[in-house]
């Protein structure tokens, strides 16, 4: 530890977006999306991500999202076609009076595309993200991830959902550990059983306390995501730590709730910026990686199909 402190660098993560700015984006996006019968959706999404990334700063420099509406529109169309084919097969079997086969194919089809969507989404999202001109990248192997995902999913089914904790954490570990920011590598080390028991404990504590303990559950979940994440570059390392307490989450969530209620939902934008601000503020970064000397290593990737399938299936794939 003593050696480390000598080279220890200062890191500052901030979210600088204002609620009013985000509100403007949401309203303009909303207007355009409805007026275009939904076709503006991919462009709206690009604008939203550009704002959220651009408002996040590390060491005074902003992140950037380079994805375009056009890329996501192409992905959107491909996603619609893929999902339409699955539904077409489903209806074909309904028509042939084989509803069970149809339903099986529908579920199998959707489960089959989930890992594809996750993989594609990360490849796209990371490749389109940069900081100081250094691109992020996701280097997971598609086939390896898909096979693993199916295997974990199979275990989840035969254990009646219990293995879901491992499915979730194993997937996360695989994905996060394959993320690069130039020549800095992300590393996520967590174990499904820790995750399972953490949720198990919090579930019952939340029930016994009539839900009050939920805020402390959030605290532990957040810490589970943050604390297990680290960055590495050769011998240099950065660790992340959550400073959020259950009380912090209580204030965050209750105030957000009040904002939404008393503004009849119009205050939603402010709740997002408040939450982002909270996350950035509560993550403590320590280590010795020199952020002035990161080298570009990642390649360009512009296929947004996975990203858009993810939207259709309501997959939540934020980092």
């Amino acid at each position: 530890m003593e050696l480390l402190t000598e080279n220890e660098k200062k890191y500052k993560l901030e979210f600088l977006g204002k609620g009013s700015e985000f509100f403007g984006i949401i309203i303009v996006n909303w207007l355009l999306t409805v007026l275009s019968f939904g076709f503006y959706y991919p462009w709206a999404k690009a604008k939203k991500l550009k704002f959220l990334y651009g408002a996040t700063a590390l060491n005074n420099d902003r992140f950037a999202f380079h994805g375009t509406g056009k890329e996501m529109f192409v992905g959107f169309i491909k996603a619609i076609i893929i999902i339409a084919i699955i539904y077409a097969v489903f209806f074909l079997f309904l028509f042939l009076k084989m509803p069970l086969v149809g339903i099986l194919i529908l579920y199998a089809g959707i489960i089959a595309i989930v890992p594809l969507a996750i993989h594609g989404s990360y490849r796209y999202r990371m490749s389109r993200t940069s900081w100081r001109g250094i691109r992020f990248g996701y280097r997971g192997n598609r086939n390896e991830f898909i096979l693993n995902f199916y295997k974990w999913f199979f275990f989840t089914i035969i254990t009646l959902g219990i293995y879901g904790a491992w499915l979730s954490i194993n997937s996360r570990r695989y994905i996060m550990s394959n993320i690069k920011m130039g020549d800095v590598a992300f590393n996520y080390e967590a174990d499904g059983s820790d995750y399972f028991w953490m949720n198990f404990k919090n579930y019952f504590l939340s029930i016994f306390t009539l839900g009050i303990y939920t805020f402390w559950w959030y605290k532990e979940l957040f810490a589970f995501y943050v604390d297990n994440l680290s960055l590495e570059k050769g011998e240099e390392k950065i660790t992340l730590r959550s400073r959020a307490t259950g009380g912090d989450f209580f204030v965050l969530i209750i105030v957000n709730l009040l904002i939404v209620i008393f503004t009849l939902g119009l205050g939603y934008a402010w709740t997002v910026t408040r939450t982002m601000n909270f996350f950035a503020e509560k993550i403590e970064i320590t280590g010795n990686i020199d952020f002035d000397a990161i080298n570009q290593t990642e390649e360009d990737y512009t296929d947004a199909t996975g990203e858009d399938i993810g939207d259709f299936l309501n997959l939540d794939m934020a980092m």
């Binding site: 600088l16 309203i27 303009v28 550009k50 902003r62 380079h66 940069s130 990161i294």
Partner: protein
Amino acid sequence: MIKGNAIYYDGLSSLSQNIELIIDKERNHLVFTTPLVGEINWPIENIEIIFNSQLINIHFGSNPVQAIKIDEKEFIQEFTQYLNKNNKVSWYQRLINLGTKIHIIIAICFLGTIILGYIYLLPIIAERAVVLIPEDYDTEIGSSFYNQYIEYCEIDSIKTEALNSFAQQLDLNNTKNLKFTVVKSETVNAFALPDGNIIIFTGLLDLMENYDELAGLIGHEVVHVNKRHSMKMLCRNAAGYLFVAAILSDVNGIMATISDNVNSLQSLSYSRGFEKEADEEGLNLMIKNNTKPEGMINLFKRIQSKHDINIPAILSSHPLPEDRIQSIKNLIKSNNSRYIENKSLRDLFLELKD
């Protein structure tokens, strides 16, 4: 020429390089020099400009992504002026630049329009759209619901037969074949399915004291079938879901909507308008069949006195039973009804009361 200090990232490393950035107004280029590369020229139409509160970020190229950060106040001001003057600000950015006040006004107007559309326009459109749905579909979902539902019920077959004979003696203006089923249950309820199946619980039959009350109930339920009220409500609900999902840009919601609806045929509560229509037209059917229209009033009063605990579906809609009773009374006053005692209806009714 606009000049200012800025920071440049070459996209190859995260090292920041201090540069003097020049905006060449004549060629519409950004120009700067770095010790490594020399002079660099970016055409302004190819750059992406991101405005933050006290900061401008400029991105150029995709492989590598080069970036410039400007935080000099004066420079930002002049640069913004230049962009505005030369129409280099995208229409999207112009909408954003309208400011929070205008955005709030847009949001409120927009929300108002949507709410008004949802309340007044959507039901009308959805009900009109029912014409496009073939009646076969009513039959199909009605009978599939009936078959599933009836499996868990105890049918009183003798009373069912009597009820069907009772209904056959009435002229009900029906286009579909009506099929009545009496289910043994304490529940004070009755409901009509879109295929012409009408289910009445013994709990409700036991409450009645005169055959004109039954005629009133049948008249009311038959109007729901004749006017395709269930289908109209399904369309309304489905349209409502689709509408909300579309407004919230919830793609997933749109995909999962309609199927939920069919399962709720029994608990489907009709709108105020539909109940009123069923009351009025049901009353007309009673008058047409020379039964005492007051039967409907008596029926409602009996149900009302009974339903403190749970409101049966036939009374479930928004108008209070009192209001409905009053409006039926008014209708009776304005109509000339001719009451002829119908012995066979009375006998069949007594069979149902056993």
